[in-house]
């Protein structure tokens, strides 16, 4: 189910603007990796290159390699649609489809792709995914109600259920808790701990306590100034990064002395 991600010397551009420069890192299967760093340092941009969502923006392109189990995502003949079916994504703001019920939202990945599915299979998938996202008990009695009627935290867990329902190998999370209250945040952090057993998870977060709580390894990114490309400063075990960082700017950032 889960796979290793290797990023080799990756440059990411928006038209002519170099947003991220020379990133190389390896993410092991069944781990949680946190990307931390100041705003605008390219964490989200880098995350979006892992499922080729980056190129949705006009003029965006990359140089370098992103390998998933040795296969280059940007190689010739690779369909971005196929990549995105293997690398799921959860966004900053919960975005359930407003036209669909909770049930339809969960199986949206199947239904939107016009794949046929028997009702019992669909029911199983809905229950399994909602169980996986710790939402089943809260919504099992109102599966036919619209997904936009849930609270923000529930909506975000619905989006996670939707992402894991297509059984991806990797789950990317772009600041999944930044729009949520502490209790919903806790629910999602617990969930990340459970999902780690099945998926390779990469999470972007501004909350350093969150990074230290949920992640096994942490990557710190930084920019030297506005208009400069973001760079990977340090990538190590989370405990090392937070307790004994090797680079001065990492220490400055996590101890709050930065900026």
């Amino acid at each position: 189910m889960s796979k290793r991600i290797e990023i080799n010397d990756l440059n990411v551009y928006y038209s002519n603007f170099l947003a991220v420069e020379g990133v190389s890192l390896t993410i092991e299967p069944r781990t949680v990796t946190a990307f931390i760093g100041p705003s605008g340092c390219g964490k989200s941009t880098l995350l979006r290159t892992i499922n080729r969502m980056h190129e949705v923006i006009p003029g965006a392109r990359v140089e370098g390699e992103v390998l998933i189990d040795g296969q280059d995502l940007y190689g010739p003949g690779i369909d971005p649609v196929v990549v995105r079916r293997q690398v799921g994504m959860v966004f900053q703001r919960p975005n359930p489809f407003p036209t669909m019920s909770i049930r339809d939202n969960v199986i949206a990945g199947v239904k939107l792709n016009n794949r046929k599915m028997s009702k019992s299979d669909a029911d199983n998938l809905v229950e399994q995914s909602l169980q996986g996202a710790n939402l089943w008990n809260e919504v099992k009695d109102r599966l036919d109600k619209p997904g936009s009627g849930l609270s923000g935290g529930q909506q975000q867990r619905l989006c996670i259920a939707r992402a894991i329902a297509v059984s991806p190998d990797v789950l990317l999370m772009d600041e999944p808790c930044s729009a949520l209250d502490p209790i919903s945040t806790l629910a999602i952090e617990d969930l990340i701990g459970e999902l780690k057993n099945e998926f390779t998870i990469v999470i972007v977060t501004h909350n350093m306590q969150q990074a230290s709580r949920v992640s096994d390894r942490t990557a710190f990114f930084n920019i030297s100034g506005t208009g400069e490309p973001g760079k990977l400063i340090e990538f190590d075990d989370t405990t090392t990064i937070f307790e004994n960082p090797h680079v001065q700017s990492t220490e400055d950032y996590i101890s709050g002395r930065f900026g």
Binding site: V56, R84, R85, N95, P98, T99, A108, K111, L112
Partner: protein, 359 residues
């Protein structure tokens, strides 16, 4: 400073709010005074007869001034300004409503005498003077408008999808520019365009219903493109990204996520664009012409349409003038009723199709 704020009373000492009774008294007083003035003017021979519109206007102005002064004295400047603006806004609203009510009232009163079974059961074939009906015109209007909609909706919808979802650079800019230009085309020019176009293929003097549909499409397409474009732009980009991230191809995302989310607004836009073109007269007069007989065939011969029927009945009044005028008014009434029905349907559709969470 803090103590001063603390000690300041919540309500100023001289503050006495205007009660509903005071307001109604002021209104009554203004009306009595204004009507009194105009009554005396009438008695004195200054006006030919009692000027009711003048009296209402004077009463309104008087009421606004009185309320402002009273409020200024008892409630203070801020509240008085609020009352003045409320009065002006309400007056503006009533002024806007006035022509509409007058128009509907006149049309209903004049149109009702011939709003009968005969009108909806017969054409004008071999009718001189009284009798006859507008069924041929009603059918013609429905057919031509329906055909125009069939042409315009696919073209307009797909253009809007192109502009919002795919269009980049020069081509998209050019299309947007020409759509904007087309919105301003005078309808007679659209009629001449259709006439010139079909004259190339069928020779000069060609008249048929489908030509009218083409002319109306020229007017309708830009409206459909514009309204659909706005509705598609309202769909949050996050929904598109959510679908992409699930591995849904772009075209399926558009068909299954973007369009369903925007469908209520799109349908409303289409309905309103139909209302916009259903009353067009000039282009139909040129390319469709007029007929007194029933013609179901869009592809041959002249057809009658309601707006042109209104025009010809009014323009060529025969011996029994009243009969012709009655038919013109009834046709106008039918046209207004169709537009009203379309608007109602649009509201119902947008209510039932809009995303359930947002209703």
């Amino acid at each position: 400073m803090t103590t001063m704020t603390m000690n300041r009373p919540v309500v100023a000492s001289g503050y006495r709010p205007l009660t509903k009774r005071v307001q109604l008294t002021t209104l009554g007083l203004s009306v009595v005074v204004a009507f009194g003035i105009f009554f005396i003017l009438d008695l004195g021979g200054a006006t030919h007869n009692f000027n009711i519109i003048g009296a209402v206007v004077v009463a309104a102005v008087l009421d606004i001034i009185l309320i402002y002064v009273l409020s200024r004295i008892s409630e203070g400047r801020r509240k008085a300004t609020d009352r003045l603006m409320t009065g002006l806004v309400t007056t503006a609203f009533l002024v806007t409503l006035l022509p509409l009510i007058s128009l509907i009232f006149t049309t209903v009163v004049n149109g009702l005498p011939r709003f009968d079974i005969d009108f909806f059961g017969s054409s004008m074939r071999n009718v001189v003077g009284a009798g006859g009906g507008g069924l041929h015109a009603l059918i013609g209007t429905l057919e031509i408008t329906g055909a125009a909609t069939l042409i315009s909706v696919p073209v307009g919808l797909l253009s809007a999808i192109y502009l919002v979802e795919y269009g980049r650079g020069r081509l998209a800019q050019a299309i947007t520019f020409f759509v904007d230009v087309m919105t301003g085309i005078p309808s007679i020019v659209a009629g001449l365009f259709a006439f010139a176009l079909f004259a190339i293929f069928f020779g000069p003097g060609i008249r048929f219903g489908i030509g009218g549909a083409v002319a109306l499409s020229v007017l309708m397409i830009p409206v459909v493109v514009r309204s659909t474009e706005e509705m598609l732009k309202l769909v949050p980009n996050e929904l598109r990204e959510a679908a992409f991230a699930l591995g849904v191809p772009k075209w399926l995302t558009i068909v299954k996520v973007v369009l369903p989310t925007a469908i209520a607004g799109i349908v409303t836009g289409v309905m309103l664009s139909i209302s916009r073109i259903i009353g067009e007269t000039a282009p139909l007069l040129i390319i469709v012409g007029m007929s007194t007989s029933m013609n179901y065939d869009l592809f041959s011969d002249r057809m009658a349409t309601l707006p042109v029927f209104v025009y010809t009945e009014y323009a060529n009044q025969g011996m029994d003038t009243q009969a012709y005028l009655d038919r013109a008014w009834t046709s106008a009434l039918v046209l207004i009723l169709i537009v009203m029905a379309l608007n109602l349907v649009a509201r119902l559709i947008s209510h039932f199709l809009s995303p359930k969470g947002l209703r």
